[in-house]
């Protein structure tokens, strides 16, 4: 059967990541892709259309449960191979690093499954990068808010202008070998403790 006929099951509690994987598989011409976000649905899916390849994230605490499903499943009586091919150390390593694991029906040829795992690995990595960047942007925004609050406090209590307030925060941070945002946070905390009760 052609590559595109493989039935692929993607199990990921992270809906966004799951749909990114699904898109990738569809772009590569796979039509039989099923995405499951809830492990409870897996038993039903396996009963219906037995997948040839299962892709699951390694953080999923339900891997043990999934493997048990497989051993119980009539269609998968034969032991399943994992990470495509146990002799392909580099592929296994890349998959684990990316945090993804693949289960494959025993007997399926390696070259047919390799592109699927490679795609999953690269999409997992891309997703992780995206998440990291988002986190960073979010925390930078949070930092800026705290610093603005601290500047406002200095303005209110000591009559400092914005530039002078920032200079004072920076000088204090340098003297104490701490980050400006930490100094600002201390000031905001102290102000809320010492300020008038509302």
């Amino acid at each position: 059967m052609p590559l595109q006929d493989l039935a692929i099951l993607v199990i990921d509690e992270n809906r966004i990541r799951a749909s990114i994987i699904e898109d990738g598989l569809r772009e590569a011409g796979h039509a039989r892709v099923t995405v499951v976000n809830e492990i409870n649905e897996v038993a039903r899916v396996i009963e219906g259309d037995m997948p040839d390849v299962v892709v699951i994230d390694l953080e999923n605490p339900n891997r043990d449960r999934l493997e048990h499903f497989f051993t119980l499943s009539r269609a998968l009586r034969k032991p399943i191979a994992m990470f495509v091919d146990r002799s392909d150390a580099a592929a296994i390593e890349a998959a684990v690093e990316a945090g993804v694991s693949a289960y494959v029906v025993d007997g399926l040829k390696k070259e047919r499954v390799k592109p699927i795992l490679d795609m999953a690995v690269s999409r997992f990595n891309a997703f992780a990068r995206l998440t990291r960047e988002l986190e960073q942007a979010r925390s930078e925004l949070e930092d800026r808010k705290v610093i603005d609050q601290a500047k406002a406090i200095l303005n209110r209590t000591r009559g400092l202008g914005e530039a002078a307030a920032y200079a004072l925060l920076r000088k204090t941070a340098m003297n104490q070998n701490r980050r400006i945002v930490d100094i600002a946070q201390s000031l905001v905390t102290a102000d809320s403790l010492l300020g008038p009760e509302e």
Binding site: P61, R63, E67, P79, F83, V96
Partner: protein, 403 residues
């Protein structure tokens, strides 16, 4: 002197405690080891990452290294167990609803496996639907002991009762929401079930199979061979942690250490019962189980090859592997008392004279001659009184044949 970095995987269960103490109380550092403990989310991850060498060793379910050595799971590489992480420490917990029916059928609140199992059998026979129990992994002491208890109580697993696999932290919730009727798991997840899901602890491992192991240190056989000095240091570090953990004066501090978010992430009072053996088993009933978790006493860290042989017998019993004499030998040899002995000999630690024992010979704690001085071994064997002789595995298998 710089420390040798070692990385180890663990699951959030109380019996990771000896590894945690080896690190937190400086026992590992004293042996020149910098122990990195990595919290994992599944036994499958532990198994795979240990097989791939991401972990030098890991906290494992006692049957896992045996399954790996026998090639029962994907990515199998030969594994060994040079040391046990204590005895006991799991229990069978049931929903409030099921407990109500078991109590009506005569189940006592003594946690005794025999009468509690007999009551469960009555409930199963009268039930209008198949009850469902959860365990944490197929090749786990939980799965084999639960099945042993059920069979010996007259309930045939799979036919009369369904057994499913769920990760430990999700079991109490599954019980609460009705997905399962009971489960067998290590602490603190029985206590958590009582506190958060109104569940009832029905019986404990300490009653089903007395003085039996649950978690072990597992590592690749090749790695152990190539790093014998490191392995010996690790065994000594965990030995000191086990002795320290066995002192009741340290329990409060241990519970505080384990409560940290990067270990169990639970309130200390959920962790203390397993250490002290003082349980709230549900419905306000208190129970004392002195042997619930034995970290050191009674040769608790000694890897009896007969324990490995029993786990193997259950793998055969439940159709996971076909019995051959070679497999039986390979399974028993997965546990390595020789490595344990040579690591601890310099410390003069009293150890059993034999590597193997018949389960069910000791009806009560018994003082026996040890390699140095004397040693008190706890009562052992199974609640139904059937002995397991590791030299008679075939006869045992024949007697246990299902169906």
């Amino acid at each position: 002197m710089s420390l040798i970095a070692l990385s180890a995987g663990f699951l959030p269960l109380l019996d990771s405690v000896l590894l945690v103490l080896a690190r937190e109380k400086g026992f590992a550092a004293a042996e020149g080891l910098d122990l990195h403990l990595v919290k994992e989310s599944s036994w499958a991850n532990i198994r795979d990452r240990a097989a791939l060498g991401h972990f030098d060793f890991a906290q494992m379910l006692a049957p896992m290294p045996i399954a790996a050595t026998l090639g029962l799971n994907p990515l199998s590489v030969p594994m060994i167990t040079p040391m046990m992480l204590g005895l006991g420490n799991n229990g069978v917990t049931v929903s409030a609803e099921l407990w109500g029916r078991m109590a009506d059928a005569g189940a006592p609140t003594t946690l005794e496996a025999g009468p509690v199992g007999a009551a469960l059998a009555k409930v199963v026979r009268a039930a209008e639907r198949k009850l469902r129990f959860g365990v944490v992994h197929q090749t786990s002491s939980h799965n084999y002991e639960l099945r042993y208890w059920l069979m010996a109580s007259g309930v045939v697993p799979d036919r009369d009762i369904e057994i499913v696999v769920l990760p430990p932290p999700l079991l109490p919730e599954a019980l609460g929401s009705g997905g399962i009727d009971g489960y067998c798991v290590g602490e603190p997840w029985n206590t958590v079930g009582v506190k958060t899901a109104g569940a009832h602890i029905a019986t404990v491992k300490a009653s089903i199979w007395r003085s039996s192991p649950d978690k072990v240190i597992g590592m690749r056989a090749h790695w152990a061979e190539a790093n014998s000095e490191i392995v010996a240091g690790l065994i000594r570090a965990v030995h000191h942690a086990a002795v320290w953990c066995g002192e009741s004066a340290n329990h409060a501090e241990i519970a505080d250490i384990m409560a940290a978010p990067h270990y169990l992430g639970l309130p200390a009072e959920r962790i203390l019962p397993a250490l002290s053996g003082q349980f709230d088993i549900g419905g306000g009933v208190a129970a004392r189980v002195p042997e619930h978790f034995v970290p050191y006493a009674g040769a608790a860290n000694f890897p009896w090859t007969s324990h490995a042989a029993w786990f193997y017998s259950q793998m055969v019993r439940w159709g996971e592997v076909e019995h051959t004499a070679d497999r039986a030998r390979a399974a028993a040899m997965t546990f390595r008392p020789d490595i344990y002995r040579s690591a601890l000999a310099p410390l003069g630690v009293p150890m059993p004279v034999a590597d193997s024992k018949v389960e069910g010979l000791l009806a009560r704690p018994t003082e026996v001659a040890a390699t140095t001085g004397m040693l008190v071994l706890g009562a052992d064997g199974f609640f139904d009184g059937v002995r397991f002789d590791p030299d008679q595995v075939e006869a045992y298998l024949a007697a246990q044949r299902v169906g």
